[in-house]
Structure formats: C-alpha cells, structure tokens
Amino acid sequence: MEARRHVLSVTVENEPGVLSRVAGLFSGRGFNIESLNVGPTLEKGVSQMTITTTGDDFIIEQIVKQLRKLVMTIKVKDLTEVKSVEREMVLIKVNAEDSRRAEILRIVDIFRCKVVDVSQEELTIEVTGDQGKIKAIINMLQRFGIKDIARTGTVAMKRSMQD
C-alpha cells in the first residue's frame, strides 16, 4: 500500500490535556505528525485541530479510529476524501542585498505575498497558500539565502457543496 499525505480535521472538547493526548497517541503508536494545528471554533468549549500526516490506507484508518476513540473527540474527518481548501501561513526571512532586492520584490508580487519586515540586509515575507504555492516560493527564494522560516502548519476545511 502506498503512503499518502492526509489532512485530518478533528473536533475536540477543549479540555486540559487534549492536545497532549492527541500528540501522545501519535508518538506512542509510531504514527507520523507533519503538522498539528489547534484553535477555537465558533462553539464555546470546542476546538478544531488540523492534523497533517502520512501513511498508507491501513495506517490512516488506524489513526482515524484511534482519534475517534479518545474520550474527548467529537468528530474526525479525513479531508483527503472530500473536496477541501487547505492553507498554511509561512514567514520567510530572506537575504536581500540592494542588488537583489528588486528581484525578490518581483517574486513577492508574483506570488501575491506581503513584505512584513524590512532591514538593510533582509526582508521578511508573509505567504499564505496551499502546499504547492508554499513549496514553490520557498524554492524561488532559496537562491537568495533563506535565514529563517516559521510555518503555522496546515489548516483545512471542507468545501461548500457546489452542485
């Protein structure tokens, strides 16, 4: 079976220890977490986690079942199975001597991202996008010398029905 990337959306009761239970489940069973993201939902006391992980069908089935088994889990959805939107926000601090600054700004423009901090030697860029876009811009900026990078990890949501 082939390992694929899956994005799981997990709704949990916002009790102390939920995050460590979820993280512990992954580490204790040897599952892989690529990113894990938590935030409140509209409903009080309920949080939403977006977990990106890789595994073959068998492993993903185990992960989903084990997540459902946690006493505080309200719902688990595998967004890979449905049409969904995915976004990640990344801050990239890149070398920017005067001679290359224009070039970098052009890339920022093409990718529709924002410069959020400037100094003599560096630019800090904020990018939001799906995995493809993030990968592409990191690639483009690599040759200038990336000094630091901070990523939020993926957040995702099922698309509204269109038909």
Partner: protein
Amino acid sequence: MELTGAQILLECLKREGVDVLFGFPGGAVIDIYDELPNHPLKHVLVRHEQGAIHAADGYARATGKAGVCLVTSGPGATNTVTGIATAYMDSIPVVIFTGQVPTPLIGNDAFQEVDIVGITRPCTKHNYLVKDVRDLAMTIRRAFYLARSGRPGPVLVDLPKDVQQAVTEFVYPNDEQIRMRSYNPTVKPNKRQLKKVVDLVRQAEKPVIYAGGGVISAEASEDLTWLAKRLNIPVTATLMGLGCFPADDPLWLGMLGMHGTYAANRAIQDSDLIMAVGARFDDRVTGKIAEFAPKAKLVHVDIDPTSIQKNVTVDVPIVAECGQALKGLRELVEKEGESLNNDEARIGWAKQTVDWELEHPLRYAPAKAGEPIKPQFVVEKIYELTKGEAIITTEVGQNQMWAAQFYGFTKPRTFITSGGLGTMGYGFPAAIGAQMAFPDKLVIDVAGDGSIQMNIQELATAVCHNLPVKIVILNNGYLGMVRQWQELFYERNYCATCMDAQPDFVRLAESYGAAGYRVEREEDVEVVLKEAFAVDKPAIVDVRVSKEENVYPMVPAGKSLTEMLLV
C-alpha cells in the same frame, strides 16, 4: 447540603455502589482518610500502592464491578502505574484516586508533586485533574461511567489537597448530566452484519469460535456457549477468555496461541470460518500473522473499533458489545431453526478436532519415583481438589501457563491473570481483591518463586484482613519462563535467571502470621494442599518442583501456529 471535597468523594463512592476501597494514606489524602471512619466503606490498607491497584483490579475481575483505589500524591501515585497499565491492557474497570499537592503549588516542584495525569495518559482510558471542588461530583461520576462503559478501562482522578478541603453544595449529577457528546460507544450490533454471519455459518464446514476476555467482561458466556452447542462449533479461547466456555465440554479445544493446545492451533489453521468474539488477535495468539488461519473467513465482534482490522483483515466486522452481538445472533439462529447445523461436514469437523485432542493432548512426563515434583501435576491436583470451584489467580511465567493449561475452567471470572501486560507480582494482590469480594470462596494464587517476591509484602494485608488467600508457589528456583527461552533460543545461557538466595517461604509466611508449608515429594502434594486449603488463614505452600521443566506446546515467537514444539 454543604460538604467538603473529601466528603463529596466518599458520598459519591457510596452512591456508585462501591463497598471496598484499596488504599494507602499520605499527606495529600489525609483529609479523605479523616472522613473515612464516618462511612460504611471498607478500607483495605495495603503495604505497597502496587498492591492496592492490583487488588482493586482483582476485585473488578472477580465481580464485574469497578474496583477502586486511593493513594497519595507523588510516590504513592507513581507506585500505581504498573497496575494501571495492567488494567488498561486487559480492559478492566478501575477508578484510581490520587492525592495531589494544593492547586497553587501545582507546577512548582512542590514536595511529593508529580504530574500523574501526564504520566498515566497513555495507560488510562481517561484521566482528570480536578481543579475546582464544584466539578468534583461530576468528575467522579464520569470517571465511573467511563471506566465501566464501552471498552472498560482504568480512569484516574487526581485530587489536589485544597480541593479535598474546599466546601461546596453537594449535588449528585444524574445520568443525563454525565453523558458526553464526545463519547458514545457503539453497543448495538448492526443487524445486516449479523445476518452475514449467519450466512457464513451456514456455508462453513470448519468453523471455530475464538473467544476472548470481552466475552467475560460483557457477561456473555451463556449466549456464547448456547451458540457453540446449538451450531456445533468448536471453541477456543485466549488466556483472558478462559472460563467463558466450559472446559469439560467436548467442543472445547483449549487455549490457542503460543502455549495453546495442538487441537486449538491446528483447528484455527485448518478452519474456514473464525468467529472472533471479544478478542483482539494479540501476537501471542496469532503467531506469525501472515500465516494465521490462511483458509478462514473472519468475523470479528468487538466493542472497540480500533481492535478491528488492526492486526488481520476481517470479512465481517461487528462493532458492538459482545453480549448484545451474541444475543442478536442467538435470536437469528433461533429463527433459522434446524437449517444451520444439519451438515455432515460440520459433524466430521467436530470429530476431527477431538481426534487432534487425542493425538496430542496437553501432557507432561510424570515424575518417576524419587524425581522432583512436576509443576503440572500440582496444578492438576489443585483442580481435582477444588473441582474447578476455586478462583484462581496467577503470577506471570510458566506458573501462569500451567495454570491456564491444566486447570479446567468452567465458569467466567474464575481465572484472574495479567494477560496483556504480563505483570509479575499481579497474582497475589489480585487474589486479595477477589477474596475481599468473595470471602467464602477458595482463592488461590498459582505463583512462581520469582513473581511472588515482587509483592510478597501483601501477606501482611491478607493476615490483617483475615483473607485466607492461598499461595501455591511452583518453586523451580528460576525465573522459569525466561530460563525456558534461554534454554531453547539462547544456547542455555542462563544469565540472571537463577533465583539464588531465596527466602525460607515457610518461615516468611509464619513471620507474617500466615501458615507456611513446604512440599518436596509428590506423594505429599495432595495432603498438604488439602491442609492449606482448609486452614482459616492465608497460607503459602512452597512446592519444590523440577527445576528445568518447560511449558509445551510452544509456538516460538514469530513462528506460525503450525510450527509448534510439542513435548
């Protein structure tokens, strides 16, 4: 009514129907102990917190009720971890109350502070730190609800000292209030899936029922037995499932797996339909997974969806409480009438399994005159003398396997052993728990000389509470099971398995105020066991058995069930 946290705890325990509490005090629970004399609860003071948790677990296994233990913070709490993991692996309902430093000190490395909620997260079904006395009653009720419902398991409640002292209006939450929308175990089976099972049974020529501890915890033995007999299907069980089907029935194949019978393992490997009920395809059961039951369709009934499809691919998965599923099947089978077991093939199959039993029964080479006692002989004698009416607990190792093999269990909840974790030191405190629940029953811990030394201090507990538990040590002077592996797979390099410098178990027992006996000749076994069983106090029977006896049959780890080493 305004009550303190400590009072609320005891009030809740009373309403949960708890009558025994196994515990050990300390500064962080002294407020609860201060209240204890005002309540009808029996408290069993153990000598080590591991004893408390195992005793609570043994009580739970013997009765089907939740076991409860109470310990102090820090070292008291950490001493229970092995017992919590033991209960977790075997899905036993226990509720553990631990004292905690006062809430303002939490996180400050205060005296006797430990993050027990963090430590036990991976080995509890759920756990709680109560920060506000107003949440206490609700938390306790939920703890019991979680421990008992769905797939049972241990739940821990950590109680800071100031919460125990704080005062609030006591309101006992009702059933509706303790429900959680995030927790809804599926207990009812899917009807269509049950029908599929009936269809498979109709087609099957070589079916086998493979039962596990889930049958016992769901009190489903009767329905299982009915179905097996009505459909003429041979039954095997895991270590945890022993007693769920009467061992004296012709359809009984014996235990399966690593130390299972030839007939059981052979039947599994040859069968065309396996109905797994409340069992989880543990590696000690399946052997090499790729070669497990190659010809069989698999039906798997389990309350825990994560157990299904975890180790093997299942044809008909049924997520349900075993009792409900078996009842559902029973109804369908009753409706179907005779059409289900008129098959000659089926009768031939049952006969075939009996032939296998006759071909390779569980056996051992009996001791010749002057030779040391055979451990299997001792277990057979215990069975003979108790007629299968005793509650047997075990330690872990060869003693455990011989007890499983040579004692004929006919009733559920009469065999109490640490299956999933294999915890040495479990059997004796568990026996104390069982004896506490059934003061009039004969409770026997079949022990090894290694394991019994892990919680021997509980002799004081047994003596103090007049619990006439019997410990029969199959004393081979070795950590026998490990020695067996060294013999078979490590060229007899008996490194660190010889138990030199043993205590004199007879005098040890006597020094605690229990009775002690030593048996060195086979002809004395019966007389001494009789005397020990009759004496009205705890007793140790130190039986010197042949030192290098091995447990057979044996499927070496990682081999397939067909590759058994026979005697």
